[in-house]
Symmetry: C2
Subunit: 237 residues, 2 copies
C-alpha cells in the first residue's frame, strides 16, 4: 500500500485563526484510492521549517502533498522552498503565462500575478478549475493551494500521477458505554484478526461516554467475521 | 518567546474519520499566554512514529503537547511510548489509584481502568475536571487525552508549568479583492515594520475573492501605525 504525507504550510493554522479543512479532505480522498495518509506536519511560513519538513517526508513516504503558500503575497514562500529542496530555479512557466495572459486579454500582468506562475524547473503544472494559477508536481511532491476549493480542484488533477492500492473498507459501530468496560474483549477480537485494524474512538455526548469502534481491512470476508464479533460485544451492553 | 509544538496521535485523524479540534483550541489558548505554537505533527497509533515525533520536537521546542492515545483500549499506546522516550517504566500511580478507587467506591478495578493509571516514572499527574484518569507532565512533554472536553480541562491544569511571554495582539481586516491586486503594497508595509508580522489569508466566498489581512505584534504602537497603512490600502479598493 502506498503511503502519503502532507505538509500544511501557514502561520494562520498554527495561530488558530484558520481551522484546517484540507487534512480531512485529503485523507478521505486517499482512502478511496487505497493510499494511506501516514503523517502530517503543520509548519510556519518559514523557509527552514518548510524545507526540512518536505525533505524529511519525501524520503520517508511515496508521496508528499503540500497545501498553502503559493499565492501572490510576500508571505507565500512555498515555491521558493520547493525549488531549494530540489536544487533548481523557479522560473515563469510559458504555458502558465499564456493561459494567464489570455485570461486577462492581453493586459500587462503585475509582478504578483507573475509570481504565481513561477514553477520549480522540472515541475508539471496541475490546474484547478477555479483558478488560473496552477499547482504542480515535482518528483514525488505535489504542491497545492491552501484555499479548500482550489486545493480540491488541484487534487483531481493529481489523480493520474498516483498509484492506487487495494481499497480499504471500513465498518463503524457505536457502543454506548465507557471504553474501560469493553477494552479487554476488544483487544481479544483484534488479536484474532491480523488483517483487520480494530480502532476504538471514544466520545462523550450529553454527558454519556461511548466509543465508535472502527474496523478497517482490504479483506472483506475478514471484515465480515470481525464485525460479527464486535456486534456480539456491543449487544452485551 | 517560548515555542511549543503538538503531536496529535491517532489513526482516526489520518483516515479523515475524525476532524481534529485540539490544534486550533491549543493554538488560541497559547496565543493568550504569549507562547507560539510553532509546529504540529499528526502521527498514526504506531510506536516508532510516536516516539520519533516526540523525540524530535522535545529537543527543538520548549514545550511538546500530545493529544490522544491515553485511553484504556489496545490501540492506546501513548504512555508506553512516552516511557520509552524517557527510558523509564510506566507504573500505576498510587495517588491516581486512590482517586479512582474512591470514585468506584471500593469495587475492584478492571485491567483497562488500571491501564489509564500507569504514568511514566517522574511524571506529574494533571487532572481534567471531567475524568478520573489523569494526563501528566514529564520533563517538557505534556500528555493529554484526545477527547476535546477532557483535553481542554487538562490544559488548564498545565497552565502553572508554562512560562508566559509578551502577549501578541492581532488586528484583522478584510479586503474584498484578489491578493494579486494588493500584494506589492502589502509587501512594502511589511518591510516598514520588522516587529509586526503581516499575513494575508485569501478566501473565496460566494465566488468573490478576498483576503483577511492579519497583523500580529507584541508592540501595540507599532501595531497601530501598521494598521493605519493597511486601512489606507484597503480603502483604495
Amino acid at each position: 500500500m502506498k503511503q502519503a504525507s502532507l505538509v500544511i504550510i501557514g502561520d494562520e493554522i498554527l495561530s488558530g485563526r484558520t481551522e484546517d479543512k484540507n487534512l480531512a479532505y485529503l485523507a478521505r480522498w486517499l482512502v478511496k484510492l487505497g493510499i494511506s495518509l501516514s503523517e502530517v506536519r503543520v509548519v510556519l511560513d518559514d523557509e527552514d521549517a518548510i524545507i526540512s519538513a518536505v525533505n524529511s517526508l519525501r524520503k520517508k513516504y511515496d508521496y508528499v502533498f503540500t497545501t498553502g503558500g503559493i499565492g501572490p503575497t510576500h508571505d507565500d514562500i512555498t515555491t521558493e522552498c520547493i525549488a531549494k529542496v530540489f536544487g533548481v530555479e523557479a522560473k515563469i512557466d510559458d504555458g502558465a503565462l499564456e493561459k494567464m495572459e489570455s485570461y486577462f486579454e492581453g493586459k500587462e500582468l503585475t509582478e504578483p500575478l507573475l509570481k504565481m506562475l513561477r514553477i520549480p524547473e522540472g515541475g508539471e503544472l496541475i490546474y484547478s478549475p477555479v483558478t488560473k494559477a496552477p499547482g504542480y508536481k515535482i518528483d514525488n511532491v505535489f504542491v497545492m493551494a491552501g484555499i479548500p476549493k482550489i486545493m480540491q480542484g488541484m487534487l483531481e488533477g493529481m489523480y493520474d500521477y498516483l498509484e492506487s492500492g487495494d481499497v480499504v473498507n471500513s465498518r463503524s459501530h457505536e457502543i454506548l458505554v465507557g471504553e474501560s468496560f469493553f477494552a479487554e474483549e476488544l483487544a481479544n477480537i483484534q488479536h484474532q484478526f491480523s488483517n483487520v485494524s480494530v480502532g476504538s474512538y471514544p466520545f462523550s455526548r450529553d454527558g454519556v461516554y461511548g466509543a465508535t469502534i472502527v474496523l478497517r481491512s482490504s479483506n472483506d470476508s475478514a471484515l465480515d467475521s470481525c464485525e460479527k464479533l464486535v456486534l456480539n460485544l456491543i449487544n452485551k451492553f
